[in-house]
Amino acid sequence: MIQVRILLVMMIIGAAIAIGSTDLICAIVALGVVGLGISLIFLLLQAPDLAILQLVVEIMSLVIMIRAFGMKDTVNIRERRFIATSISVILMGFFLVFSMAAIFEIPRFGSPLMKTSLFYLRNGFRQTGVPNMVSAIILDYRSLDMLGQVVIAFSAAIGLVLIGRKKIHASTANRAEREQK
């Protein structure tokens, strides 16, 4: 799995560039590298379903983020805060140590725990009659989770429309401009 590791290194470099760059457009484009890497990794791990979804979501979020941030003036933060930076670095160190301890407990890559998934693979087609096992799991065995996902998508859309629902009419915009003069 040397390809997956090369892609992971590329994604980490892309994320670092996205954090470090001072230009917003540059950061958005560098963030696209991360999503593309995840999409290619899904394709290499034989999950074309998730690869298509990740690619489409990446295009969509790129359009939305450029529409939302692209026209704004870029803000350069030059102020250096030593105390906050050092505290966050120490906390990151603790997090890395504990996560290393957790990673050694996980079964090796390529030999997963097959307790519930083996049941689905053996009985899924006979019980549901669906060739696509992902659909059989998310729409039959775990359809309550799917209800939660639909509710999340619904409430995200409704919340964003509710926050930005105030239209500025032409008359009030002109009046605001006159008041500013």
Binding site: V130, M146, K166
Partner: protein, 154 residues
Amino acid sequence: MIKKPEHGMTVIVKTVTRYTDVLILMFGMYFIFNGHLTHGGGFVGGIIVALSFIHVMLAFGKEVALKRVTERIIKLCVGLGAISFLLIGIIGFTKGAFLYNFFRKPGVDYIGEPFSLFSSGIMPLMNVAICLAVASGFYAIFIALVVYKIGKRR
């Protein structure tokens, strides 16, 4: 639509959009209706359908895009998708449990004929409901970013 040069992008983009947009919509529809047979499903298909509408809005401008499919219809579709998913779940109570596959006959393993388009009970209906909620939800988010302007603070 193409005779209003003041809205949207150039003539090249508009011409390409007129031919490719239907194909993108068809691709999304294929993903939705074959979600239980091949790779894909409601989420992927819904986002592709939303992208086809966003394509129209980017190429032709927001006045043309919001003339037929108005905001009221989009907000209605967001609610309709979530409500219809919940209704499919509630109808399952008539056969026993919440989100039960109510086309299932007792004692028979498969529902319908496997590998055919109209099979597996409520799963295509659920895919359509998910597609309605996701597609109109993402399109509503895009419209909220494009049409609504947040007032300047004084």
